[in-house]
Amino acid sequence: MPLELFLDLYSPPCRAIYIFARKNGIPFELRSVELGRGEHLKPEFLKVNPLGKVPALKDGDFLLAESVAILLYLSRKYHAAAHWYPPELQACARVDEYLAWQHTAVQLPATNVYLCKSLLPYFSGQSVDPVRLDRLLGKLKPALQHLDREVLAAKPFLATEQLSLADLMAFTELMQPTAVGCDVFQDWPRLAAWRARVEAALGPELVRDAHRLVLQPRDPRDAQRDPKLAQELVQRLLERLS
């Protein structure tokens, strides 16, 4: 039984896993789970991940959720090059530190910017609320500042002197708002230079391929195919973004 990866490439952690697996030549079958159609909540997928979230992994009889856990599992099982998750105690700790910090410091605010700029207008048919967007960008700013002014002032990558899982996760997260028109790199020169380094190291074609979906503009008319679902999602989004 081949390795199965349950992914929606609209999701940054899914893209990180997709890029990692492709970059490291890990053979896998991509099982697409379209969040926009609620496929993550269907019984078939809940058997794979009862938490109802992507990414998820199925390796024979072994089921695994959570992007960091999946990346570490793949990295170790398929003997990825050491720079991804270094064996040295302190270097490894730096990667662990970033991967822990990023959940609330980066992933949460970056996702919220994306939801406000892209998903909410898509489901509501309304234009972007600039006041709300500004407020949400403000919540992402401390992380960007920390990465640009402190972390990248000391080294070329986020955790160590080389590309690691930390950079991969950060890259796909920060591409999320950027891909839909909120360029989070524009005020931060070191972060912009880091982005270019990461893209070059991963391979521009692979990065483009992984980001193909999120870079495509969404047509709000598609969302209105199921107006009831659209309205429900708008409610939930408004609650989350208030």
Binding site: L51, L64, A65, E66, V68, A69, L89, C92, A93
Partner: protein, 308 residues
Amino acid sequence: MPERRSRSPGVSKPGTCQDLWHRRPEKQAGPTGVEPETLYLGAPQSCHSCCPEPAVRRVPAAATMGLELYLDMLSQPCRAVSIFAKKNGIPFKLCTTEVFKGQHPSKEFFQINSLRRVPTLKDGDFILTESSAILIYLSSKYQTADHWYPSDLRARARVHEYLGWHADCIRGTFGVPLWTQVMAPLIGVHVPEEKVQRNKTFMDLALQQLEEKFLGDRAFVAGQQVSLADLMALEELLQPVAVGCDLFEGRPRLAAWRERVEAFLGSDLLQETRGPILNILEQAVNKKVPTPPPEVHPCMLLRISRIP
């Protein structure tokens, strides 16, 4: 414990005894201008034959330069780190950092940790934040028993699977009741009932997932033995319990898990670590919690504003 050497009576005057037990080293400022803490490594003893004063063995902190842990015991991840280190006999210097009393040596702390976060680890020149990273670092460096952070590929993946979910669904959620009932009122802020109720809903959902997906019919949240995951989970769940939310009532599987983990860790260790948090509600009711100084208000207000 070193042997007590016998001396002839009256051989030294008070304060001049050459025995290490009685030496009082000059207090020296550390590199940041802050007095280093001294470590007390033994019970006070008196040397009747030499010095009239009771002797307390003091060793300047610099002499034992090693692991420092900056912890605030009101903080769930700090307790997890403290419990882990003590349970595993890892020697460390405790730098108590009471964030809301503004009592931490702010200049020094800021220099080592620009984000002013607790817990923070300092091992020589190496500074590390994030409790899960610290726990993994300590387990690797001090080669603690395998069950804490199993070397088996799949078993370790389960620990990371828990830690990832914990970061999203437990952190930030289970700390809210302490904020709404104790911390916010201290600075005159009232958290709306709507938010309190929403938080209860989030906690209920998280507890359901914890019980069904992570615990299931296993003894512990990431497998059949205690691991870092159980420590992190338990101290978070204890936070609302400390302010009167009995999360374990009506959840026998979860209650049984808690008993198993606490039996493994030992009640003395837990009581010692949890003293401050278990007393906080009573202190608040009796108006004995010190008012946080103005300089910590902005970060407190920021935290309160993040309550969904």
